[in-house]
């Protein structure tokens, strides 16, 4: 397992996240060469079971990130409720309880922006279903930093507002169905 992988995947989702992630994450093999970060909007004062659910469903290890968790390929890191997730270089996850951004903590924008700072053109950022506008700014930072931006096709998304806002902010992003994103993720190994 590489300590400093050459690329990274980051995924943001809100309403409808569980179903969408259940299409994308389980098929990925245990030898997947990239770390995957997942930011899902969650109620702030409840423990989240997302990481536990996907750790059971997936061949990859899924964990809820703690502060300064080392980044390793083959791990899925979920942002915990009530904390922003960001990347401290390519080596560590950092958490923060700074103010909410667009009423969200974790914020997809914050996570996407810091991942773009860390990985630049080697980042793939994917924005899925959701009912607000989080992620649009972050995705445009990913594009400006030379990374790959993918947006779930709003016509099939459980909630369209988030992918639609991202398409307006990032006309250069690729628009794909969940099935296409799944194939894409499996093919970039």
């Amino acid at each position: 397992m590489k300590d400093n992988p050459n690329g990274a995947i980051i995924i943001g989702a809100s309403a409808g996240a569980l179903e969408a992630l259940s299409v994308l994450l389980p098929p990925l093999p245990a030898t997947y060469p990239y770390p995957i970060f997942v930011v899902v909007h969650l109620p702030p004062n409840k423990r989240s079971v997302l990481a536990a659910i996907f750790d059971l469903k997936c061949q990859l290890r899924a964990i809820e990130a703690e502060d300064k968790e080392p980044v390793q390929a083959g791990f899925i890191y979920f942002a915990p409720p009530n904390y922003h997730l960001s990347l401290e270089g390519r080596t560590h996850v950092a958490l923060s309880s700074e103010e909410e951004v667009l009423f969200s903590r974790p914020s997809i924008d914050v996570a996407f922006e810091s991942a773009a700072d860390a990985w630049g053109s080697q980042l793939t950022a994917i924005l899925l279903t959701g009912a607000n506008h989080d992620g649009a700014n972050g995705l445009s930072v990913v594009v400006r930093s030379g990374g790959t931006a993918i947006i779930q096709d709003p016509t099939e998304a459980y909630a369209k507002a988030m992918p639609e806002a991202a398409i307006r902010a990032c006309p250069d992003a690729r628009i794909m169905t969940l099935a296409e994103i799944s194939t894409y993720l499996q093919n970039i190994q």
Binding site: E64, K68, Y83, S86, A94, L95, S96, S114, D117, G146
Partner: protein
């Protein structure tokens, strides 16, 4: 081209942090870069500077801008009885141990505007420990310390504080401890009877006495790994054997060089107990 641009910004950030340290002795040089970068970008935008270098020039020559900088660089997001289950664990699991001491010293490190401090004072009063306890509340930001010392909060936040207090196993009603007026909630000044407020930096200062409990939650998440080790080292030195250290719910000693000085006391609540020498 983009990559080059990013690196220039990182150089600017390093230079600004050096300037703040050499000119004003505020040391943010070992803070977590991802968060510092984000907050300096916000500061640059909101204060209306073209570049971070321009902001550095201004703060270097104009001391009155320091407060603006500190407001962006130090995070002040807290609430009373934040994470009620943490305070419930303090009440149920830690307090029985503390009762065995004739006198107690408690350190709220990075107390910001005081919410966490007052939560502890109220909990200790409810448990009958306040009279024998000295509370140290420290922070690096003088504005935040002044707010902590005033103990005045926006009335809109009181509902959340009240729910948290109840969920933490609070014995009375939170309203026993404050009066209201002008859309403010004013905490009873008797809560400050046994509190010492002090300017203290986990980055540059040393320990100042033996403490039975240190609560330092969501403060060290803004530090890089090395600085976290320094701060935990301070706590290790200030805590006697069996002393307690409480961290934020997503903080851990797992990655610390001082992990061997502590054991998990209440695992889910990130309450550690000092072991060994």
């Amino acid at each position: 081209m983009t990559e080059t641009f990013e690196k220039v910004e990182d150089i600017e950030i390093r230079l600004l942090l050096e300037a703040l340290y050499h000119r004003y002795h505020y040391d943010f040089r070992s803070y977590a870069m991802s968060s510092i970068r984000r907050r300096l970008r916000q500061a640059r935008e909101q204060l209306g500077f073209a570049t971070i270098s321009a902001m550095q020039e201004r703060v270097l020559h104009h001391p009155e801008m320091l407060d603006d900088m500190l407001r962006f660089l130090t995070v002040q997001v807290s609430e009373m009885f934040r994470d009620p289950s943490y305070f419930a664990a303090i009440r149920e699991k830690v307090v029985p141990h503390l009762r065995t001491y004739p006198s107690l010293k408690i350190w709220i490190a990075g107390c910001s505007s005081g919410e966490e401090l007052y939560s502890f004072v109220i909990l200790f009063r409810e448990e009958g420990l306040e009279e024998r306890t000295l509370f140290y509340a420290t922070d690096i930001n003088p504005e935040a310390l002044a707010q902590a010392e005033a103990g005045i909060y926006d009335i809109e936040r009181v509902r959340l504080f009240t729910e948290n207090h109840r969920d933490s196993g609070g014995k009375g009603s939170l309203s026993d401890y404050y009066t209201t007026g002008y859309n403010r909630c004013i905490l009873d000044k008797s809560l400050r009877r046994n509190v010492v407020f002090s300017d203290h930096s986990l980055v540059t200062d040393q320990v100042f006495g033996e403490m039975q409990l240190v609560s330092c939650r969501n403060v060290m998440i803004y530090f890089d790994r090395d600085l976290q080790d320094r701060a935990v080292g301070l706590f290790r030195d200030t805590l006697p054997r069996n002393g307690f250290l409480g961290l934020g719910s997503k903080e851990t000693l797992r990655f610390s060089t001082h992990a061997d000085g502590f054991r998990e006391f209440v695992r889910d609540e990130k309450i550690y107990q000092r072991i060994g020498s």
